[in-house]
Subunit: 98 residues, 2 copies
DNA sequence: TTATTAATTCGACGGTTATCGAAACATAAA
DNA sequence: TTTATGTTTCGATAACCGTCGAATTAATAA
């Protein structure tokens, strides 16, 4: 992965609220392996203390960095983690190959 | 690690030039295990196309996020990677415990 | 001491960003 | 069809950020 793309990914995670949003999506993603449930962002909006329009903006940035994929299900939005990319970028920090 | 600190770390890596700077330090850090050499930032400045004052500013941000530690050796500056923190944050992305 | 080299500090400029609220849109419910 | 709900878009505002260049400090070399 080239530096520019990696920087974009880190940037997507560089704001406390947006990182929290990502972590909640990741948490729901993990849970879905057992329960088969999915992550609707409506449920997340209530946890964070920011407006819906801001959430929408943050989601778009996470998706733009390809950290997540989104899918419209009826009037809801479902979010999934891009596992391969996350693995790749977490390896990139460089000191876990030992 | 709390979300705020993690976001600060990702922010430190969120700019292409600063990420490249970090990666060069990490590379020199790896190499030092064999050669015993150390990472002087003077050598790095020539690689990146930005002024010395900007480098100094970036180094301070990396250090402020605790990703690196710095030590003055004569008139030079030596940089080291904070391995534990890097490991911790790379695990935090959440999907490599499988 | 004087000159050179490495690094830092400072002020400024231009561009980006997080957030809000209102309005618009889309889908589902009544 | 009307109403309600989830999401997006838009414009605006305030704060933040990367970069530069000049001046400064500190340490070594001549």
């Amino acid at each position: 992965m080239d530096t520019k793309k990696a920087a974009k990914i880190f940037k997507a995670l560089s704001h406390p609220n947006r990182l929290e949003l990502y972590l909640k999506i990741a948490e729901a993603h993990e849970a879905s392996f057992q329960s088969g449930s999915e992550c609707f962002i409506t449920d997340i909006i209530d946890c964070l203390n920011i407006g819906a329009s801001t959430i929408s903006h943050h989601i778009k940035e996470l998706a733009n960095a390809e950290l997540i994929t989104t899918e419209k299900r009826g009037k809801f939005l479902v979010c999934k983690i891009n596992e391969e990319l996350v693995d790749e970028v977490s390896k990139m920090l460089g000191l876990n190959q030992k």
